[in-house]
C-alpha cells in the first residue's frame, strides 16, 4: 500500500485549481492551500495576486478564507503589515487561540498596532486617527479570551498598553483576587506607563474600582489619590475613618503615616486644611448617626461640640466621650500629617539607637595635616553626616580647639553641620542655634560666616517642615546686608519652604538675586528652585531671563539648578523648557538642562530621557555638561537600579575623567543603599583611578551604595572600609581623593548607622525631599557647603510600631535570618564598644550538621516560647540579647533568626525576612516590614508597656563665653542614650 507519508511536491495543482471556473473547486483549492501554506508559501507567493483578487471579488462567498491564505503568505514573506491587514480581512477565521507562530506573531503585531494607534490618537487629540474596527475587534477578542481563560494579569497588562480602561475594569472585576489585581495594576502603571496623564487616568479608574468594593483598601486608595493630587478625597476618607471604630482610626493613622512618608508637603497641607473644614462641617451632621449607633450618648448642644472639635481645649464638661475621642483623634492625625509625629519618633529612634563609631573620626582627625582646610572641613562634614539626626555632638564638644581652626566659609559649613546633626529637632531647633544666629537689634560681634551657617542649619533642621521657622528666616534675610548671611538665609528659606511656592518668600529671595552679588545670588537661585520645586511655574522663565543677563557664573549656575528644580517630576510638560536650556549657548545653562532632564524624569526610566542624556554625554563640548549628563542618568534610573550599572558601564571606561566621574555618581545615586553587587563591581576599579577627582566620586558613590551593608553581607564592604582608612592615612594621597574618602566614611556610617539613602518610598512613590537633596548635594563639586544637602536623602531604617495613642508599645517580631547578616558593623576597636561582638568561628562541616539538627529542635521550642505571651519575668529570663543581635556565647553557631523589639532597626535588605509573630498582644494594621506601623491592641484591657519615652531633652544652654564655636554649646551634656533593656535567650 501507500507509503506512510505521501506528500504533494508542489502546490501548483491547487493553484491551477484556483483558476477553475467552478466556485466549489476554488473553495476546495483555497481550503487546501490554507492547510499547506506553511510548506508551499514560496510557490503560492507568486499567485498571491490571484488570491487577492478572489478576496476582492464581492461575489465570492469565501473571501475571508482567501484573506487568511494571503495573510499567511505575507507572514512567511515577512511582510507583517500586509499580513495583518489581510488577517483583519479574514475576520472570525483568524483564530486568536491558535497556538501557532503565525497567530502569535500577528496577535503581537495587532496589539502593537492597536496600542500605537490608541496612544497616537490620544496625543493628537485634534485629528482623530480612524481606528480600524476590525483591529479593535481582534484585540477585544483577545482580551476577552484572556479574561475567560483566567489570565487576568495578561489581560490587565494588555488593556493598560492599549489604553482600554473599560477592559481593564472588566478584567479586574472578574479577577478572583481583587486586591492583588489592583496592586498589580498600580505597580504596572508606575513601572510601565511613561505618559503621566495616562497614568493618572489609570489610577483614577483604579480608585473608582476600589471605592465600589465592600471592604475597600483605603491604604492603596489614598496612595493613588496622592499621586492624583486629590487632597479632598483623601480628607474625606480620613474624616470618615476618624468617625468610625477604633480600628478605623488606627487605619486612618496608618494612612496618614504612609502619606507623610512620601514627603509631599503641599499635598499634606491641603489634606490637613481639608480635614479642618470637614470636621467643622460634618461633626454636626455626623452626630445623629453616631447616636443611632450608640444609644447611650446624650444629645447635647451641637454648636458647642463643633467648637470643641476645632479647638479641643480642656474645658470639655458636657461633651460626651465619643466627641472627645474624635477631637483627640483629629489632633493626632493632624500631628501626623504635619510630619511632626514621625519626625519626633524618628529623632527618638535615631538618638536611642545611635551606633556611630567615634574612633573612625578620631583616626581621621589624627591622620590629617593640620593646615589642610579642605580635609578639615570634610572631617567636620563627615561627622555631621555620621550623626545626622541623632543630636549627638560629642565629637565636636571634645575637639573644640581643633574645631576653631575653621575660618570663613569653613566656619559657615561647620555651623551648618549642626543643622544636620539636629535635623528634625523642630521644637528645639531655634534654641539650639540661638548662639550663632544674627542678633537683632544690637550689633552682634558674631562673624557673618557663623550667622549665615546658622540660618542654613535652621533650614536643614526644618527641611520640608518649615512652617514655624519661615517667618524668622525671612526677617533675618531682610535685616542683613552681608552676602554671606544672605547666602545662608536663602538656602535656609528654600529648605524650610520646600515646594510651597510661597509668593512672599519668592519675592524676598528675588530681591536678593537682583542685587547681583555672586555669593548671595547663587544661593538665591537655588533657594528659588527649592521653593518652587515641581510647580513648573512661569517663574522659571523669569529666572532664565536673569541667567542670561547676569555676568556672574555662580549666579547662572545657581539659577540653572533652580530652574531644573521647578520642573521636578513634570515629565513631558517640562520638555519645552528642557529643550530651551539644552540648546543654549552657555554651557552652564546646558548643565542646568541636564539637571532639568534628571529631575523632570526622575525615577521613570523614560527611554527618551535616557537617550537624550546619553547623547549629551558623548557629544557636548563642555566637560561639565557631559559629566552632569551621565550623572543625571542616576536620577532617571533610580527606580530600576539593576539597569544603571549596565547602561553606564561603557561610560565608566571613557577616556574622559569627567564622564567617568559622572558614571560613578550615577551608579551611586541610583543604586544608593541597595548594596547591589554589579554596582560595587563597576565602582571598584574607579576607586583606584588615575585621576584624583574620579577617585573622589567613586569613593563617595561606593559609600552611597554600601550604606548599611556589613561585611558578612558582602565581603567587599570590609575591603572598602580598609581602603578608606588607607587613603586617609596615606600622606601622599591627593587632597581630592582624601576628601572623598573622608566624606565616604561619613556616608557609610550615616545617621548613627541607622539611616539609608532612599529615593523611593515603600509604596514606590518618589521621595521629593530625598531626590532634591541628592540633586543639590551633587553640586558640592562647585561649593562644599552644599554637601550637607545629602542629609535630606537619609531615611531611617526602622520598624516603629505605634498603638492608638501613637505611643511605642512593647512588641516583638521575627527577623528570619542570621543576625550577623544585617548587624551593625563591628566597631573599629574593642575599647570603644559597649557590647561584645561575636567573632566568626571555624566550624567543621560535620559538627555544623549535627549542630543544626540539634538547633532545629531548639528553635521550634524557642519559637513557641517567643510566641507565647510572655510575662515580664519570662522575658527578662531569656538570654537572647535583643536588637544588638550578638549572642554572648561565642562558640555557639549563629542562630538562624532573631527576635527584634519595637522600635527596631530593619535595613532594606532585611525587610523580606521580617515575620510577625502570631498570638502576640498586638497585630499590625498593615503588614509592612519597616516604617511606621500602627498596631491593633488585642487586649485593650491590660495595661500597656511602653518603650522609647526618652526624648533627647535639650535645654538651651548658655554660650561658651567668647567662643563662637559650633557644637560647644546648646547641647545637653548629660543625655546619653539608654540601651534598651537587654534580655537573654537560651537555646
Amino acid at each position: 500500500m501507500a507509503a506512510a507519508a505521501v506528500m504533494v511536491s508542489s502546490a501548483s495543482g491547487l493553484l491551477a485549481m484556483l483558476q477553475e471556473p467552478a466556485a466549489e473547486l476554488k473553495l476546495h483549492a483555497l481550503a487546501n492551500l490554507n492547510s499547506l501554506v506553511h510548506l508551499f508559501w514560496p510557490e503560492i507567493s507568486t499567485s498571491v495576486p490571484a488570491i487577492e483578487s478572489l478576496y476582492e471579488d464581492e461575489e465570492f462567498d469565501q473571501r475571508q478564507l482567501a484573506a487568511l491564505v494571503v495573510s499567511k503568505v505575507f507572514y512567511y514573506l515577512g511582510e507583517l503589515n500586509d499580513s495583518l491587514s489581510y488577517a483583519l480581512g479574514a475576520g472570525p477565521l483568524f483564530d486568536v487561540s491558535d497556538d501557532s507562530d503565525y497567530a502569535h506573531t500577528l496577535l503581537a503585531k495587532a496589539l502593537d498596532e492597536y496600542a500605537s494607534i490608541r496612544s497616537r490618537s490620544l496625543k493628537a487629540a485634534g485629528e482623530e486617527e480612524i481606528m480600524d474596527p476590525r483591529l479593535e475587534a481582534i484585540v477585544e477578542r483577545m482580551l476577552d479570551k484572556c479574561i475567560t481563560d483566567g489570565k487576568y494579569q495578561q489581560a490587565m497588562g494588555m488593556s493598560v498598553e492599549c489604553r482600554r480602561l473599560d477592559k481593564l475594569e472588566q478584567a479586574i472585576s472578574q479577577c478572583d483576587n481583587l486586591n492583588g489585581a489592583l496592586s498589580y495594576c498600580i505597580n504596572l502603571s508606575h513601572q510601565y506607563v511613561s505618559h503621566r496623564e495616562y497614568r493618572c487616568e489609570i489610577l483614577r479608574c483604579l480608585v473608582k474600582i476600589y471605592q465600589t468594593l465592600p471592604n475597600p483598601d483605603y491604604l492603596s486608595i489614598c496612595q493613588c489619590l496622592m499621586f492624583l493630587c486629590e487632597p479632598e478625597t483623601v480628607g474625606n476618607i480620613l474624616g470618615k475613618l476618624l468617625f468610625g471604630s477604633k480600628d478605623d482610626a488606627l487605619l486612618a493613622f496608618q494612612i496618614a503615616f504612609d502619606l507623610v512618608e512620601n514627603e509631599n508637603q503641599a499635598f499634606l497641607l491641603s489634606v490637613r486644611n481639608c480635614l479642618d473644614t470637614l470636621s467643622s462641617q460634618t461633626s454636626a451632621q455626623a452626630l445623629p448617626s453616631d447616636q443611632s449607633d450608640n444609644a447611650a450618648i446624650e444629645p447635647s448642644g451641637d454648636a458647642q461640640m463643633t467648637d470643641n472639635v476645632v479647638t479641643p481645649n480642656g474645658s470639655a464638661h458636657t461633651v460626651d466621650s465619643n466627641e472627645v475621642s474624635h477631637a483627640d483623634r483629629l489632633t493626632k492625625i493632624k500631628g501626623i500629617l504635619s510630619g511632626e509625629t514621625s519626625i519626633q519618633l524618628t529623632l527618638q529612634f535615631l538618638y536611642s539607637h545611635n551606633r556611630s563609631d567615634l574612633l573612625i573620626l578620631k583616626t581621621i582627625k589624627q591622620a590629617l595635616e593640620m593646615r589642610n582646610s579642605v580635609c578639615h572641613s570634610a572631617t567636620i562634614c563627615s561627622n555631621a553626616i555620621m550623626h545626622a539626626g541623632t543630636t549627638v555632638d560629642t565629637f565636636l564638644r571634645e575637639n573644640l580647639e581643633w574645631l576653631s581652626r575653621a575660618t570663613n566659609w569653613a566656619k559657615f559649613s561647620a555651623t551648618a553641620g549642626l543643622g544636620v546633626i539636629h535635623r528634625g529637632h523642630l521644637t528645639q531647633g531655634r534654641a539650639l542655634m540661638a548662639p550663632y544666629l544674627p542678633q537683632s537689634g544690637a550689633a552682634s560681634g558674631g562673624s557673618p560666616y557663623s550667622e549665615g551657617g546658622a540660618l542654613y542649619a535652621l533650614g536643614l533642621i526644618h527641611a520640608n517642615h518649615g512652617e514655624g521657622i519661615k517667618q524668622f528666616l525671612r526677617e533675618s534675610l531682610r535685616n542683613t546686608s552681608s552676602e554671606v548671611v544672605q547666602h545662608g538665609a536663602c538656602l535656609g528659606l528654600g529648605l524650610a519652604a520646600l515646594g510651597t511656592a510661597d509668593e512672599e518668600v519668592f519675592e524676598d529671595i528675588k530681591n536678593i538675586l537682583y542685587t547681583d552679588s555672586a555669593v548671595a545670588g547663587e544661593a538665591a537661585g537655588i533657594g528659588m528652585g527649592l521653593l518652587m520645586v515641581g510647580t513648573a511655574s512661569e517663574k522659571a522663565g523669569e529666572m532664565l531671563a536673569y541667567a542670561h543677563d547676569t555676568q556672574h557664573e555662580k549666579i547662572i549656575r545657581g539659577l540653572s539648578l533652580g530652574i531644573a528644580l521647578t520642573v521636578y517630576g513634570r515629565e513631558e510638560e517640562a520638555d519645552t523648557l528642557i529643550e530651551q536650556m539644552t540648546r543654549d549657548q552657555d554651557p552652564i545653562l546646558r548643565y542646568g538642562g541636564m539637571y532639568a532632564l534628571a529631575l523632570a524624569y526622575r525615577g521613570t526610566a523614560n527611554n527618551k530621557a535616557i537617550h537624550q542624556l546619553l547623547h549629551f554625554a558623548v557629544s557636548d563640548v563642555s566637560d561639565d555638561v557631559r559629566r552632569t549628563a551621565v550623572l543625571a542618568l542616576g536620577f532617571v534610573l533610580y527606580n530600576e537600579p539593576e539597569q544603571t550599572p549596565r547602561i553606564v558601564s561603557l561610560l565608566s571606561e571613557s577616556y574622559n575623567p569627567h564622564v567617568r566621574y559622572g558614571a560613578a555618581l550615577a551608579v551611586g545615586i541610583s543604586c544608593a543603599g541597595s548594596g547591589l553587587s554589579d554596582a560595587i563591581s563597576l565602582l571598584e576599579p574607579l576607586t583606584s583611578d588615575v585621576v584624583d577627582f574620579v577617585r573622589q566620586g567613586a569613593l563617595i558613590a561606593m559609600a552611597m551604595v554600601m550604606i548599611q551593608t556589613n561585611e558578612s553581607y558582602d565581603s567587599r564592604v570590609g575591603t572598602f572600609r580598609r581602603q578608606l582608612e588607607k587613603i586617609i592615612l596615606d600622606k601622599h594621597e591627593d587632597t581630592m581623593s582624601k576628601m572623598g574618602a573622608i566624606l565616604a566614611s561619613g556616608i557609610l556610617d550615616a545617621g548613627g548607622r541607622n539611616v539609608t539613602i532612599r529615593l523611593q518610598s515603600r509604596s514606590k512613590h518618589d521621595k521629593l525631599t530625598a531626590v532634591v537633596g541628592l540633586a543639590v548635594f551633587t553640586q558640592f563639586w562647585y561649593w562644599y557647603p552644599l554637601t550637607y544637602f545629602i542629609s535630606l536623602a537619609f531615611s531611617p531604617t526602622a520598624f516603629i510600631g505605634l498603638n492608638s495613642d501613637l505611643k511605642v508599645p512593647k512588641f516583638e517580631f521575627l527577623s528570619n535570618t542570621k543576625p550577623s547578616l544585617f548587624d551593625y558593623p563591628k566597631p573599629t576597636t574593642q575599647q570603644t564598644t559597649t557590647a561584645s561582638v561575636k567573632l566568626p568561628t571555624a566550624i567543621l562541616s560535620t559538627y555544623a550538621k549535627a549542630k543544626s539538627r540539634a538547633k532545629k529542635d531548639a528553635e521550634s521550642k524557642a519559637l513557641e516560647k517567643a510566641e507565647a505571651p510572655q510575662s515580664e519575668d519570662a522575658s527578662t529570663a531569656t538570654s537572647m540579647q535583643v536588637d544588638g543581635g550578638a549572642e554572648k556565647k561565642a562558640p555557639e553557631p549563629e542562630s538562624t533568626f532573631q527576635i527584634l523589639t519595637n522600635p527596631a532597626r530593619v535595613v532594606p535588605a532585611q525587610e523580606k525576612y521580617i515575620k510577625f509573630l502570631e498570638a502576640g498582644r498586638y497585630e499590625p494594621v498593615k503588614l509592612a516590614p519597616s516604617g511606621f506601623v500602627l498596631l491593633r491592641d488585642l487586649k485593650p484591657t491590660e495595661t500597656e508597656e511602653l518603650v522609647l519615652t526618652d526624648t533627647p531633652a535639650t535645654q538651651a544652654a548658655t554660650t561658651a563665653a567668647g567662643q563662637q564655636i559650633p557644637g560647644a554649646s546648646a547641647m545637653a551634656v548629660d543625655e546619653e542614650p539608654h540601651p534598651p533593656q537587654p534580655f537573654e535567650y537560651t537555646s
Binding site: M1, S10, S12, L14, A16, P21, L25
Partner: protein, 267 residues
C-alpha cells in the same frame, strides 16, 4: 463499493462516451461536474489520506484529468490545458508508490513540453525537463519535444517545420500547427533586425506564406510598423536607440562626500 466512487465511475463513462462522440460541449459540462465530485475524495492530492478505495480513486482521478488534458487540446484551449495539467501533475510526481504508471504519462508530459515550446516559455521547458527521470528522455514523445527545442534554438526552422510530419501522437498536431506560427514570428523578428527591406516574394517565401494576401494580413496584424511599397517590405528599423543614460555623477559625488563626512564624525 463506495457510492461516491460508483457515481464518479458512471459519470466518467458518460463523459467518455460524449468524448468519443466528439461532443465537446457535453464533455466539458460533465468534466466540471466530475472535478467537483473528485474534491470529495480525501485520498486525492493534496491530502493523500489512506482510504480503502484510495487506489481506485486515485486511478480514476488520474484518468479523468488525463482525459481533461486531451479534451482541452481538442477544444484548443491552452489555459484549460495548463490548469488541467497542473492538477494532473501530482498524480504523476507523487503517487508513483501507490498506483502503477499510466500509459498516457509520457505522451501528456511531452505534450506539455510542446506547449511550453509553443508559448516560447523556454525556461519552464527546461525546468520541466530537469524534473523528468533520465530514462524518460528515451521515450519517443519526450524525445520529440527535446529535439524540436534543439532545432528551434539552433534556428533550424526547417527541421522544426518538417517534424510536423512525424508526430508521435495525434494530439500533437494542434501544437505543431501553433509551433509553425511561433517559428514565423521568430523569423519575422530576425528579418526585421537583419534587413532594411526585402522583396515581397522573398518575404513570402521566408515567412512561409502561399499568397501575397496572407502576407499583407500578417503584416497589418502583427507588424503594423512595416511598410509595403515598390514591391518591397520595408522594416522600419526601430528608431535609433536613445542615447545611453547619463551617469548620475553629481549624485554619486555628493553621496561619497557625505559618507566621508559621517566617517569623520564617528571617530
Amino acid at each position: 463499493m463506495d457510492p461516491k466512487l460508483v457515481e464518479v465511475t458512471q459519470l466518467f463513462s458518460r463523459f467518455k462516451a460524449a468524448f468519443a462522440r466528439n461532443d465537446f460541449d457535453t464533455s466539458v459540462g460533465l468534466l466540471s461536474q466530475l472535478k467537483v465530485l473528485l474534491t470529495k475524495f480525501p485520498s486525492l492530492p493534496p491530502s493523500f489520506q489512506q482510504t480503502p478505495n484510495a487506489v481506485e480513486e486515485l486511478k480514476i482521478a488520474r484518468d479523468i484529468y488525463e482525459h481533461a488534458v486531451v479534451l482541452s487540446v481538442k477544444i484548443e484551449d491552452q489555459d484549460a490545458f495548463e490548469r488541467d495539467f497542473c492538477q494532473l501533475k501530482p498524480y504523476y510526481m507523487d503517487t508513483c508508490d501507490i498506483i502503477p504508471q499510466s500509459p498516457e504519462e509520457y505522451p501528456i508530459l511531452g505534450l506539455n513540453l510542446l506547449r511550453l515550446l509553443v508559448q516560447n516559455r523556454i525556461a519552464e521547458f527546461h525546468t520541466e525537463l530537469e524534473l523528468l527521470p533520465v530514462n524518460a528522455l528515451e521515450n519517443a514523445c519526450i524525445k520529440h519535444a527535446v529535439e524540436l527545442e534543439q532545432s528551434f534554438m539552433e534556428g533550424a526552422y526547417n527541421r522544426v517545420l518538417s517534424a510536423r510530419q512525424a508526430v508521435p501522437h495525434e494530439t500533437y498536431v494542434y501544437f505543431m500547427d501553433l509551433l509553425a506560427k511561433t517559428v514565423r514570428d521568430e523569423l519575422a523578428g530576425c528579418s526585421e533586425k537583419g534587413y532594411d527591406y526585402m522583396s515581397i516574394t522573398e518575404a513570402k517565401q521566408m515567412l512561409m506564406f502561399s499568397s501575397d494576401q496572407e502576407l499583407r494580413e500578417y503584416i497589418t496584424e502583427e507588424h503594423p510598423e512595416w511598410e509595403i511599397k515598390d514591391g518591397c517590405v520595408f522594416f522600419q528599423k526601430a528608431k535609433e536607440t536613445q542615447p545611453c543614460k547619463e551617469i548620475p555623477s553629481l549624485q554619486v559625488i555628493n553621496q561619497t562626500l557625505s559618507y566621508a563626512r559621517e566617517l569623520e564624525r564617528i571617530v
